[in-house]
Amino acid sequence: MVLAPNVFLGYRIYMSFLITVPPILLLALGLTLVIAAGEIDLSFPSVIAFSGFLFAYLFKTYELTWLALLAALAGGALIGFVNGILVAGIGVPSIIATLAMQFFWGGITTVLSGGLSYNIRAVKETALWEVFVGRIGVLPVQSLWVLALAIFLWFLLNRHRFGEHLLFIGDSAKVARVVGIPVNRERIKLFTLMGVLAAFAAVLLTLENKNFFNTQGQGFLLIALAAVFIGGTSIFGGQGSIVGSFFGAFIIVMIEAGLVASGIQGFWVRAVVGLVFIGAVIFHLLVENPGRLAALRRLLRRDG
């Protein structure tokens, strides 16, 4: 950012972030809850494709708008629910279950769409478009939606019974059972919620692009996860930072753009992204616990 002042002084670049970040942010927020509960969801890229397809198909074929939105959300809920059943009901570890489901639903989307992408330019004329991805002045409306959702999810995680249950489940599922939390039902709810959030991200993305791409969502896997981790949510569960993920999503999107704007040469960008990523996380850790550096020095001599 420091390297390219003229870029980051203009408002336009921020408006562009306010368009790109919302879908990623939605995913990151959902993942924050999932990870806080000690689980993981890798199936969301396929929700982005599947729900995006449902929406675009219903709009293009039947000119449905609000119903298409509902169908897309229901599709996401279905995928999430299936994940939940696999994880909570059958006991498949979530990393495996959701990975398999990513394959499955991604494949189903390709089959259903016949591999085609859809152009839904006409959607721009609908009220739906104005409500979700229109502009207030220069401000993209979707940024307000995700802001509201972020606040809601903060309260859900930190102030609601459901969120507390997730935190305890992530802390120790055994303890959670013993204190009377209906562990499995909460897990099913959690995955379903994640599916709905991903589906909403899919709709925002499809509306904004006015196009459904058969492969949409696949590039979001690492980015959304990285946003959560950069934000300081621990992979070990029992703790999740909605605020951290909020900023994490912006940071991860801005890193590459910032590097590009700063004029770093093509091939270097990715290596520098890796460095910035690890640097941010280490900075986090050291701020929280300055003893680490000493520990590191000690380690290289003899281990504790």
């Binding site: 562009s16 591999g115 753009a257 704007a261 093509g266 990715r270």
Partner: protein, 307 residues
């Protein structure tokens, strides 16, 4: 000698399709190959490699193990990587033919055995796009962004062609590499290009040979406050969004590889060579660009995944 049975009856062909089932740079090839397979009555087995060269090599090994009549390969791993494998397949009597990226050395060696090529010369394709951009009003000393995949040796050839053509026209070229995330999900390109445009307000042209990226350039321009025609844009492939871009004037020129032919022709080559021993044909499937003026007629076909 002809009979009631179709020409390819009883034949099996393993064919590498490129990326992932249904992605923009793959779909029309699949459609073409399926149509040809239906027409000739042969059994087509599709292999998708996510553009990974080492997967293409493995797919070849697996295909060879099934002793099919023919194998259609992608050129990405290069002649040297394929050389021994193709030799082996030829010894086993399997017809091999290629597409998308030329394998000149192998073509020269095995042409007599039916080794053909259907595709553009990648460098030339890029070069044509660059020329076409230069023709749309770029001046000496103008600044252009080339956004490509030089890190992938074969696919990078088209980027190189693009860059060369622009440089020959006296344009100053900035190069940016496409990251794997953008490669698989092009919507992520928008903030990156927006940032570039904000930092380089004087840029006169953007060129890419990535189909997904092409489709999103109009959005990036729009978000950056540009108007159609402010920036000369050259791209590739006719995704629905790209057509929009052309129609609205955001995109100035697009290379049409005619991917359908890259599917149809290798199957044809296979049947003809396996049945009648014809030699390999070298077919350039695309030397033309599509511009806002010529797009109209193509739209219906594109929506069926043919063009």
């Amino acid at each position: 000698q002809s009979s009631d049975k179709p020409l390819g009856d009883g034949m099996v062909m393993y064919m590498q399709m490129g990326g992932n089932a249904g992605d923009g740079a793959t779909l029309a090839r699949t459609t073409g190959a399926r149509d040809a397979a239906k027409a000739f009555g042969l059994q087509l087995i599709e292999q998708y490699s996510a553009w990974q060269p080492e997967t293409m090599l493995n797919h070849f090994r697996e295909g060879m193990a099934a002793s099919p009549a023919c194998i259609g390969i992608m050129g990405h791993p290069g002649s040297d990587a394929f050389a021994d494998l193709v030799d082996e397949a030829r010894e086993a009597g399997i017809v091999v033919t290629s597409g998308n990226a030329p394998l000149t050395e192998l073509y020269n060696k095995h042409q007599a055995g039916g080794f053909g090529y259907a595709g553009v010369d990648l460098f030339t394709g890029g070069y044509i796009t660059g020329k076409s951009m230069a023709d749309q009003g770029l001046q000496k000393g103008d600044k252009a962004l080339v956004y490509g995949l030089l890190s992938e040796a074969e696919r990078g050839q088209s980027t190189l062609g693009l860059k060369t053509a622009l440089e020959e026209a006296g344009v100053t070229v900035d190069y940016l590499e496409i990251s794997p995330e953008v490669n698989s999900d092009s919507s992520l390109v928008v903030p990156i290009l927006a940032a570039y445009l904000a930092n380089n307000p004087d840029v006169k042209a953007i060129g890419t040979q990535h189909g997904g990226v092409t489709a999103f350039i109009p959005k990036a321009l729009e978000d950056s406050g540009k108007k159609p025609g402010d920036v000369v844009v050259g791209g590739i492939d006719l995704a629905p969004a790209t057509i929009d871009g052309l129609e609205e004037g955001w995109i100035s020129t697009v290379l049409d590889q005619q991917l359908y032919l890259q599917g149809f022709l290798p199957v044809t080559q296979c049947v003809l060579s396996a049945k009648y021993g014809f030699t390999g044909l070298f077919t350039n499937t695309g030397s033309g660009t599509v511009t806002p003026k010529t797009i109209g007629a193509l739209v219906p076909l594109i929506e069926k995944g043919i063009r």
